[in-house]
Symmetry: C2
Subunit: 217 residues, 2 copies
Amino acid sequence: METRELVSEKTIGRLSLYRRLLSGLLAKGRQNIYSHELATLSGGTAPQVRRDLMAIGYSGSPSKGYEVADLSESINSFMDNPDGTRGIIVGAGNLGRAIMAYFEGRRPKLKIVAAFDNDPNKIGSEICNCPCCDMAYLKTTVAQMGISLGVITVPANRAQEVGDKLVDAGVTGILNFAPIRLHLPPNVYVEHVDLTTSMEKVAYFVQSNKDSDVAGA
Amino acid sequence: METRELVSEKTIGRLSLYRRLLSGLLAKGRQNIYSHELATLSGGTAPQVRRDLMAIGYSGSPSKGYEVADLSESINSFMDNPDGTRGIIVGAGNLGRAIMAYFEGRRPKLKIVAAFDNDPNKIGSEICNCPCCDMAYLKTTVAQMGISLGVITVPANRAQEVGDKLVDAGVTGILNFAPIRLHLPPNVYVEHVDLTTSMEKVAYFVQSNKDSDVAGA
DNA sequence: AAGAAGCTGTGAACTTTTTCACAGATAGCA
DNA sequence: TGCTATCTGTGAAAAAGTTCACAGCTTCTT
């Protein structure tokens, strides 16, 4: 009944990138684009782009390629919840506040509407146009505002507890920045953004470059 | 001559997680651990853990499993550059400063030693014990301090230019937080952390959960 | 001392993801 | 009109990553 579950996580990630690139092109007045051009912009390959668009049932035209505006709109309607998606963030420390600032106004259909923290100095203040609330109000806020997404930016030792509270409150998708893996029911989608691992991966591959002098472009 | 290039990027990522988990266990006085326990902690499977450790040539013992301290040390010596890895960050905005704070003192062999920005108000100041310098000094700093890693936290429209400057200065690994794909020579390792995509993926899978009520655990 | 239990290491099977390669389509041109 | 060039859509092949399943080892128990 739903084609949705059939589209892989990786494809979803790339579609998100494509539509962002397409927005940029659209702003520059670009009308059409070929798969190999989108591939270059997105750092992928042409067949991959075509496969990804095939996954959402989008068709281009031979020799004109894809229509930028139309494709962009198709990705939107495939990915966005028409009613919008509302999220909250738990942990209003440096990282939490930076992420709120980063996302503010980025997509019309996806908004962070409240922050939560347990620091009395933060509670009651406003961060990036969002109220910062006491954790005690998490469950009622989620229910009242129809929140489905939670962002976790608390320290590692509090992350599991916060994840449990979010799930208990009814959140079904979590973006976790804490450097541990959360244990949550399988119907909750969890995306781990592990900054330490990302950094250490780069450090590792830097080192291996150094060992073996690479020859040629 | 080097086993290093044979270990996949995914395995490196998991090793980074394993050693972090092992540090935690070590601090609690834990001595031994089985593959299935590490699997639970890391959100993977037991055979996967064993395969990953096989990749670095580490052997456990049947019925005792792996020695926590020894395994942790083995991963360190596999992943860390013995001379340490020094990095710089370009872009001292909200996100850049949050990331500096996040990494400060996290690993002895991996340090961010300087920040760069083009805002005159920031230049000359100190952020998380790092000097914030003018972009003009990037190249000489990289050379003088033996920097091999760069973190990009500038807006999308400046990211490619910053990437080019980093590579020109001699950096061979980049952690990019700007929401575009960088075009750089193939000998430079680039890790993209795309916060927008991560968020949009969660939003997408949240929505698809809602469509089809999941039955059972 | 011998059997039971439960682990690791790993070849082989399987699954997922990516890439290839080409039929079919469209537009431009002579 | 017919030829050429170049694109898309996609079956099939290849590659990458994961899981299975079991031989072999070690310890514990009786």
